[in-house]
Amino acid sequence: MDFATFLIQLLNSVQYGLLLFMLAAGLTLIFGIMGVVNLAHGSFYMIGAYLAWSLSSTFGSLTLAILGGALLSVLLGLALEWLLFRHFYQRDHLDQVLLTFGLIYIFEELRSILWGDDVHGVPIPDLLGASIPLTETLSYPVYRLFMSGVCIALAAGLYLLISKTRLGMKIRAGAFNRDMAEALGINIKLIHALVFALGVTLATIAGMVAAPISSVYPNMGSQVLIMCFVVVVIGGIGSVRGALIAALLVGLVDTFGKVLVPQVAGMLVYMLMAAVLLWKPQGLFKQ
């Protein structure tokens, strides 16, 4: 591998890592604050992708579709929290797993009824449709760089929200000691509803932004779900910062693993997880 190719592969891994982060952030947030294991997280990614497809063909613009889709996902998140998840915060993890596992099937069926089982493509907006030539045979799509930009912006936004704002302080207080926060007059129910909606929206946005390059197809959520869990476990469950580091690490291992040791590429990420857990059983950044 020459130096130029190495740099391009590095770019590939960062870009993949950032996408993984955007997916895993919502998952780790919901677990960290409310203690809910949400297996249906991948379904939200799929719903996002299908929303991007159906709304962009209605509105004729991906930007409008993403805005509209984000709004719908906030509503979906609030509704799900109010109807279901609210009643599961204090319950056993096994109950939560059963609930969210059931939700995966429900969402898949609804998707099949609403949108069918076809594979769909979402056109890349003209503004971002170009490619930058890197070598004589390879170019880099501008849209991928745009995606990375969105991921970085979201990561920065999350960091500011949680550590620099009043709402973030309340969120952290609620996660640290629910009863005490409530006694101090913080409306913890509202906080939980907001955080849940935020987690759902992060996943759907990831699905919407990734739709033009990933295509839209049934079961796409279950494929990313496992990788999400790996990232969350490596990073330390509940830690957003850990998720970012872990996602970049996984991106790096996955990308270079595929190129350098293709025979075991499928295992490498899981070996990384096992190694990290041996070294730090709580993950890299335990809250």
């Binding site: 390879l138 390059i213 295509s215």
Partner: protein, 395 residues
């Protein structure tokens, strides 16, 4: 302990038998002497559409015979196999033991197929495979009662290598998922490409069903082969085609593949798919009278366009009809039935085909190029192509 366990297991057996109807009087079970046809196909999950297309095609062929098999009425039994390999044996057993089917039609997923195969070999029930291309079913583990109407995983790519060399591409990179179907497709490609004088620079693979292709596309760009050959299918195929174009490789390094690369994904892939050349045993745009009539009739009946899976389902029906006619509907007359199936000539929308000794189609492979969201046939890549059937001792 032993007696207690015995009592328990026996009562369980009695309850089980009662619930499956084993204890009903013989006459009640005979039910007017209908042929019992079991369909074990995916009706949910990734391959749901394929299951529906196969069943549609299959029923269409039977309906052309007035909905009868060798003059007998048909009773259908359906099981959704969910493309779930771990339930393969259980689901097939349901059809064979509970429903007592005379013939089991299924399935799509190769892993599930191995479950069916085990049950078929043990029970001796007639099994018709309408899709799954796993080699073993018509190679080392072939069986007198198992017939395939689709392809083996290496059959399309067995026609691909020579076509690529003929077009002047002497150095190629292979890329696919690292799983049984991908490995078997590679086997076909390797054999035909090296035999025709081509060199495989590198075999690239990623774990199934990973769709993060960017690293390997970068690798391809660095290797600068004359052409790329691949095996992908479904949603992953659409993404691969788009990523390939977005990485700037389209137009510089021609992309070839097993035909499944461009089945059912051309709308999703859009212009990125233009110019991709594939080999397969069928194409929607096949310009024959037989195919056009079939497509018109299918579209009228089911209000949707048929695809290769519908054709395979249809051919499964045609094959069963020929067999049933030879034994006048008595599917228990196995010797005559199997002989008829082995000698059958299927007048399929894909063109006429026959059975190989190992019970896999001997069929033409078409060379197709994608243009305007259609697989246009530009020639026949291999005539009457047969799978090697290596290790099969039938015939």
């Amino acid at each position: 302990m032993t007696t207690r366990r015995l009592v328990l297991s026996r009562s369980a057996a009695v309850i089980g038998a009662a619930s499956t109807g084993l204890l009903l009087p013989e006459i009640a079970r005979a039910q007017g002497n209908k042929v019992r046809v079991g369909l074990m196909l995916p009706y949910t999950g990734t391959f749901a559409q394929l299951g529906v297309a196969i069943e549609n095609g299959f029923r269409m062929a039977l309906n052309e015979q007035g909905g009868k098999l060798g003059g007998r009425e048909i009773e259908f039994f359906k099981v959704d196999d969910e493309s779930e390999p771990s339930k393969g044996v259980e689901n097939a057993t349901k059809l064979v033991q509970r429903d007592k089917v005379d013939v089991l039609v299924g399935t799509v997923h190769s892993g599930v197929q191995m479950g069916i195969h085990k049950v078929a070999r043990e029970s001796g029930v007639l099994n018709l495979i309408p899709n799954a291309g796993i080699h073993a079913a018509t190679r080392a583990l072939c069986a007198p009662n198992v017939f395939r109407t689709s392809f083996t995983n290496s059959q399309p790519t067995l026609a691909l290598g020579q076509a690529m060399v003929k077009r002047g591409h002497k150095k190629a990179v292979w890329i696919s998922w690292k799983y049984a179907a991908g490995d078997e497709a590679f086997e076909g490609f390797k054999e035909s490409y090296t035999k025709a004088g081509g060199t495989i620079l590198k075999e690239l693979a990623l774990p199934f069903p990973n769709v993060e292709f960017q690293a390997l596309l970068t690798e391809i760009a660095a290797l600068k082969p004359d052409a790329v050959a691949c095996f992908f299918a479904g949603g992953g195929a659409a993404k691969f085609i788009k990523d390939y174009a977005a990485a700037g490789l389209k137009g510089k390094i021609p992309l070839y593949g097993s035909g499944f690369l461009t089945e059912g994904v051309l709308d999703a892939a859009g212009p990125a798919a233009d110019g991709i050349i594939t080999t397969m045993h069928y194409s929607d745009s096949l310009d024959t009278k037989r195919n056009k009539e079939f497509r018109l009739a299918y579209a009228k009946t089911f209000k949707m366009q048929p695809d290769v899976y519908a054709v395979q389902g249809y051919d499964t029906g045609l094959l069963l009809v020929q067999g049933a006619n030879a034994v006048k509907g008595d599917l228990t007359n196995k010797k005559v039935l199997y002989a008829a199936l082995e000698k059958a000539v299927i007048d399929s929308p894909r063109g006429k085909w026959t059975m190989s000794k190992a019970h896999n189609p001997v069929q033409d492979m078409y060379l197709r190029v994608v243009a305007n969201k259609e697989n246009k046939v530009i020639g026949i890549a291999a005539k009457a192509l047969s799978d090697s059937g290596a290790g099969c001792k039938l015939g």
